[in-house]
């Protein structure tokens, strides 16, 4: 086995810049330390190791942020990112929730990744990504600190996403001037993409307008082992075994991967046909072992008559969007900007 492991390691090292490789390998190692075979999770160590950053009302590179408590009962916190005001002065407390200034101002409700278990809204990797989205799309970004597994299983993350969506939708200061409505997009990477999908389904059922879904390497799965899972198992930072562990941690106890949360176009899911589901931008990394599930998701949307743009990046691995040191990063950022501003 040692021989083929060697090949695996060398392979992943040739497709990403060295600092990216170090970053993602570090996560991989840390996460291996945290997951226990019995399905429990070393949360204390996870929080100790996670690099977090505070919100900052002083603009940095044209973006400032502050945290809000959306729901005291569940202690649901989110981080709001806004473009700095003209003049560049740091906003005072009363300016934080000043009405957005524009005919059309997109508001992106963002769900961070971490396979439902890792990271937080104030994790450095996600704080950085959200800041980028602000400038890129000329939008406000609201990053939701949803409850995580295994302590909080399905449907907690979706419930928190739903709470956040309602909160955003009801803020008068987030309304665009054009129609006095909040122009909402849902976005997320990995488990965040999964959450975005599920919140969008709930939105459609309840009549809240979502203008678009942005799914970056969304986390989906299913019972069988797909070709990509077999081919890419263990080769690019991710293993089938760890994917299984996360689904067991998130799904209700005893549930299998055919559960609709894991498999939205599987045997147990509801059809989206005829629903005015938001248009979707689905980004799939060609070296992500769950790509078959992601492609199946995009196909499923199409078959249900929904608008979907698929961006397939052949040489991209997971986490390519965390550092701006590769072409995939720039390609995807442009796609996102176009998608959000095409309203």
């Amino acid at each position: 086995m040692a021989g083929s492991d060697q090949v695996n390691l060398i392979e992943s090292k040739t497709v990403v810049p060295l600092n990216t490789w170090v970053l993602i390998s570090n996560f991989k190692l840390a996460y291996n330390l945290l997951r226990r075979p019995d399905g429990t999770f070393n949360r204390h160590l996870a929080e100790f190791l996670d690099r977090k950053v505070p919100a900052n009302a002083n603009p940095v590179n044209g973006v400032f942020s502050f945290d809000v408590i959306m729901d005291r009962q569940t202690n649901l916190l989110s981080r709001v990112y806004r473009p700095a005001y003209a003049g560049g002065d740091p906003p005072s407390f009363t300016d934080l929730q000043k009405p957005v200034d524009g005919e059309v101002v997109p508001v992106i409700v963002f769900f961070h990744g971490g396979s439902f278990v890792h990271s937080s809204a104030n994790s450095a990797i996600y704080d950085t990504l959200c800041r980028r989205l602000v400038g890129l799309c000329g939008s406000v970004v609201v990053s939701v600190n949803y409850r995580r597994a295994p302590e909080n299983r399905y449907p907690c993350a979706y419930d928190d996403g739903w709470t956040a969506l309602n909160w955003v939708n009801s803020r008068s200061w987030l309304q665009s001037k054009k129609d006095s409505k909040v122009h909402i997009f849902l976005a997320g990477d990995s488990s965040g993409g999964n959450i975005a999908h599920n919140v969008a389904v709930r939105a459609v059922e309840s009549g809240i307008d979502v203008l678009g879904n942005i799914l970056l390497n969304p986390m989906f799965g299913g019972t069988e082992r797909t070709e990509s899972e077999t081919r890419l198992d263990g080769k690019y930072f991710v293993t089938v075994r760890d994917r299984d562990w996360y689904w067991r941690a998130f799904l209700p106890e005893g549930e299998e991967r055919e559960h609709p949360a894991c498999s939205p176009f599987g045997p147990r899911s509801k059809s989206l046909e005829g629903l005015s589901f938001p248009k979707s931008l689905v980004v799939v990394a060609g070296l992500d072992l769950i790509q078959d599930w992601q492609l199946k998701y995009a196909e499923g949307l199409k078959s249900a008559g929904q608008e979907v743009k698929l961006v397939y990046l052949e040489q991209a691995t997971i986490g390519f969007y965390l550092l701006p040191n590769n072409n995939h990063f720039h390609t995807v950022m442009e796609e996102i900007a176009a998608f959000v501003n095409a309203e």
């Binding site: 040739t14 600092n19 291996n32 204390h44 002083n58 981080r79 760890d242 590769n326």
Partner: protein, 511 residues
């Protein structure tokens, strides 16, 4: 599979060289992109760190979680150090682990029971580049209309005071009073204290630190200790660092720069009593102000009783001073060479910033007694800026978070805690010059001060972090309290706002 090999090489080389040439001076040679994400890896070390990660992968498989239960981790931002210590844990005979170049001293692995963290390789931190940009961390706790208007009025009043427009300030402070009365909860209390501070400043009725009130102050602190976890966290984390530093020493000496009611020490005495191999001789020097002179002796006596009860040899000495600045090394009667020394300061050092030169005096004294560890707990806030309005704004948000965390069913402890904090607010807002002693500064600022003063950080690790988190869950129960690790220091905050920081230091013996 198509390999964009040459493309990758170019891009990675480009990243390395650009971060090396363009950013070496700014970021101290650290990879700029990783710094943003919280990791400090020198570009020149990147390949080495990658290699070690590969080595770790080869040695480990999926079932390595049992490791994390035994291993103590330190300073995850220092990826190189972290990876090194993991390799060391797995293979102690492995000589590929490079020694910490910054320190001549390495605490060797101490075989021990679960009661004590295996004091291994307490890594001293490498020099961190100083950040000049300040962070204003705001949590909107109350987005109600009245809350916003109240804050707005307070800030407007503070601005008027800043501009010495006392007529306007007078009008506004009354307006604040009106608004506050229609507010509920934490915001009302905070606003009331800040308004009182402003009023005192406007009418020049400054609060005094009366003689009779000092013991009252001690009493308030006890209630503060009981009602919320901040002091418990401070004591607990400092004690963990002290215990780790004392390791197997036979004689230990703790110098507490502010003994107060000695609430920190029963737990340490008990932990020492339980040490495998038996407790050391424990000597405590408690320092207090001349206003509390009598009660220091009493505190010492009570601690002695406890020590006797658990079988720890105990010696106590009290030192009474007007100011910590007056502390001279001779007063401490150090028994050089035979005792392990810890200097402990919980919320004491910032007071010295009110008098120029005082902080340098105490740091000099500390240095001259050559302690093995110095534990420092301070408020994590920028309340000592030169502009009144900035201080006012910062502290308004700080105490809003603090008061918010105290909200709950009414109790005497809570009421007294609010009074305890209220007095800090009044001092901060209404006083100036040497009277203004609540001069809180941030961890970054303290780090600078200690570095310049000839001290090196001692990293507080994951064991202390975990125990602190568990302690919080026990006492506080609320989800709102959060412990964070930041480059070897631990911070306790409410929601995402850090409120107090514990750090540990020792002498920089190099040069």
């Amino acid at each position: 599979m198509k390999r964009e090999h040459s493309h990758r090489e170019t891009s990675s080389v480009k990243v390395d060289s650009s971060s090396m040439t363009a950013n070496k001076e700014e970021a101290g040679g650290f990879d700029e992109l990783l710094v943003v994400l919280g990791y400090k890896v020198r570009s020149s070390d990147m390949a080495d760190v990658a290699h070690k990660l590969e080595q770790l992968e080869m040695v480990l498989d999926d079932g390595i979680s049992h490791l994390s239960d035994d291993t103590v981790h330190y300073n995850p931002s220092d990826l190189s150090g972290w990876v090194d210590s993991l390799l060391f844990d797995l293979n102690p005979t492995c000589d590929q682990v490079k020694p910490d170049q910054d320190s001549e001293y390495e605490l060797s692995a101490i075989p021990g029971s679960a009661a004590y963290p295996p004091g291994k390789r307490t890594r001293t931190g490498s020099d961190s580049p100083t950040t000049t940009t300040t962070t204003r961390s705001m949590v909107v706790l109350d987005s109600q209309e009245t809350g916003v208007r109240l804050v707005h009025a307070l800030l407007a009043c503070a601005e008027a005071v800043q501009q010495n427009n006392l007529k306007l300030a007078d009008v506004l402070v009354k307006h604040v009073g009106l608004l506050a009365s229609s507010q509920a909860g934490a915001m009302r209390k905070v606003a009331t204290y800040f308004a009182e501070g402003l009023a005192r400043r406007i009418y020049r009725i400054y609060p005094h630190d009366d003689v009779g009130l000092s013991s009252f102050s001690d009493t308030l602190q006890i209630h503060f200790y009981e009602s919320c976890p901040y002091l418990k966290f401070a004591h607990f984390t400092a004690n963990q660092a002290i215990l780790e530093s004392f390791a197997t020493a036979e004689k230990v000496h703790v110098i507490d720069l502010g003994l107060n009611q000695g609430l920190q020490w029963p737990a340490l005495i008990q932990a020492l009593a339980l040490r495998p191999g038996g407790p050391p001789d424990f000597r405590l020097t408690g320092i207090g102000s001349s206003l509390t002179g009598q009660s220091i002796q009493e505190v010492g006596w009570k601690l002695g009783q406890l020590a006797n009860a658990v079988g720890v040899n105990f010696e106590f000495k009290s030192i009474v001073l007007n100011s910590l600045s007056d502390l001279k090394p001779e007063m401490l009667e150090i028994r050089t060479g035979s005792e392990s020394i810890a200097v402990n300061s919980v919320f004491e050092l910032h007071r010295l910033l009110a008098h120029p030169g005082s902080i340098d005096n105490i740091l000099f004294t500390i240095k001259s007694i050559k302690p093995d560890i110095i534990t420092v707990v301070e408020q994590e806030a920028d309340h000592n800026g030169s502009v009144f309005l900035d201080r006012f704004t910062e502290s308004l948000h700080y105490y809003s978070s603090l008061f918010d965390s105290l909200e709950g069913p009414p109790s005497q402890d809570r009421v007294m805690s609010e009074l305890y904090l209220g007095r800090q607010i009044l001092n901060l807002v209404a006083c100036e010059g040497e009277d203004r002693v609540e001069r809180h500064e941030t961890l970054v600022q303290w780090r600078n001060r200690f570095s310049m003063g000839g001290f090196k950080p001692v990293n507080i690790g994951s064991y202390a972090y975990k125990q602190a988190s568990m302690l919080l869950a026990l006492y506080a129960g609320a989800d709102g309290y959060k412990v964070e690790e930041h480059e070897g220091c631990l911070l306790l905050g409410w929601q995402t706002r850090p409120l107090i920081a514990t750090s540990a230091w020792r002498l920089n013996r190099v040069g």
